[in-house]
Amino acid sequence: MALDSMQEIFDKILAENKPFWQVVRDTDVEERQVTAEASFEKMRVTWRAMLESVDTYRADRRSVSGLVGGDAQRMWDYAAARETLCGPYLQEVIATALCVAESNACMRRIVAAPTAGACGVLPAVLVPLFRRGSVDEEQIVRALYVSAGIGAVIGYRASISGASGGCQAEVGTAAAMAAGALVDLRGGTPEQIGHAAAMALKNLLGLVCDPVAGLVEVPCVKRNVIGAVNAVSAADMALAGIESRVPVDQVIDCMGAVGRRLPVELRETSLGGLAATPFGQSVKAGLEKERRA
């Protein structure tokens, strides 16, 4: 694996005099033995699939359990009716995170980033910027390379699966990826990208994976919102010159270590956390009854 640490990416940026995104693209070119154009086009297709996952949202869809659906529309309606607390960009971020995560629960097409459960975080921060014309497609595709590079390092050093690392490994990783992409889009330095990713990950450290009835629905959909909003705040802090005191690679290693220490009940088994609440248990019992019927 070519991307073992964020430090390695920083070193390559200096040694090869390339921007962050290009280091990641060239790694892909080398690993998959494809041309630079083919790699870029694949990333473009990935982006367009993200965009489509937002555009094809319908508020009347419901998930298998019936627990998920319609909340993105509620957010949009509320924002249309009165001024939100969080302002125009964040209200779109929240609604978009809900919309993509709901679509996932309703068996629509999404881009796993890094997993299906956390698929709403990246589109949530990127699509609103793209829609208002502040960034174009080329810039977005490059920023996606930045986020993929961060995700690859986390996948290599720690984990990107709830079953092995808890939700900090899924939504936490997605937030770090999104924060890095945002800093890149705003012209931040590679170090600022690293600080943003580190802060986003630190702020979700220890987050458990506890899906009710084992379904990627509750709390997953709303966790995409906290992942995205957290990414925005981490990116803005980094762009303001605020630094993560703990170096980014150490934060990543620490996330991996915390994940390994999480009890198995809090790693996707649905034996603890919100899944074990009376509400969670009753949902599970209801679904089992339905299955037997």
Binding site: N104, M107, R108, I110, T115, A152, A163, G214
Partner: protein, 222 residues
């Protein structure tokens, strides 16, 4: 081994890469290795596939795969209906397997031309799969490569005849394994290749002395 499009991807129908996308791939693998339209399927769900499979659409995903769909096909949620229209009959049961990965399915499938296949495969995370058993023989391959499965009599020189047909078509071998079923005299050879295997090479392999059948899974296009 993860590449960056395992991190940003796959593009897939939700809700779960392991319980939905991986399940589609398992179904699709079974159809490819049967080598014909599937008419009947007995599908055993093991572990987490049995417990949360319904909520994740694992059942519909497996049937979608048997119908030839890929993980990003928006027809996946409607696969039961499509199966009915195409004359595919299926049945689910809970399988209790020993030492199997928690996300495992066992598929007994029967084709339009009477072919049969029993495939056991696991969804190993991120939508990736691994086939663990074929017709009672232990195997291990993932569908990351183009995959040729040849059933043949366990006679001397058979493997080299198969490989020869591939090499004259300019095909590079990525991995290979010859697996014997302890109980019978037949062998099962799995060859994973970098290049696609053309139809004429497949036909030549099928008529080799000692070959009982040869089926082929072509890896998903980028």
């Amino acid at each position: 081994m993860l590449d960056i499009f395992d991190i940003l991807g796959p593009v897939m129908v939700g809700p779960s890469s392991s319980h939905t996308a991986g399940a589609v791939r398992i179904g699709r693998m079974a159809r490819a290795l049967l080598g014909e339209e599937v008419l009947r399927a007995d599908i055993g769900l093991h572990g987490s596939f049995a417990e949360t499979g319904q909520g994740h659409g694992t059942d519909r995903a497996l049937v979608a795969g048997l119908l030839g769909m890929k993980p990003d096909d928006l027809g996946i949620p409607e696969s039961f209906l499509i199966a009915e229209n195409r004359g595919l009959k299926f049945r689910f049961y809970t399988a209790h397997l020993r030492e199997a990965h928690p996300n495992t399915a066992v598929l007994d499938v029967e084709g339009a031309d009477g072919g049969k296949l029993c495939l056991q495969a696991a969804s190993t995370g991120g939508g990736r799969i691994r086939v663990d058993r074929l017709d009672g023989v232990d195997v291990s391959f993932t569908g990351i490569f183009n995959t040729l499965v040849v059933r043949h009599q366990d006679v001397a020189g058979e493997l080299s005849r198969i490989l020869n047909e591939l090499s004259v078509s300019g095909i590079n071998i990525a991995n290979m394994s010859l697996n014997r079923d302890r109980r019978g005299g037949d062998a099962l050879t799995v060859v994973e290749t970098d290049q696609k295997i053309p139809q004429d090479a497949l036909e030549r392999i099928r008529v080799l002395y000692g070959v009982l059948s040869a089926t082929y899974y072509e890896k998903e296009a980028e």
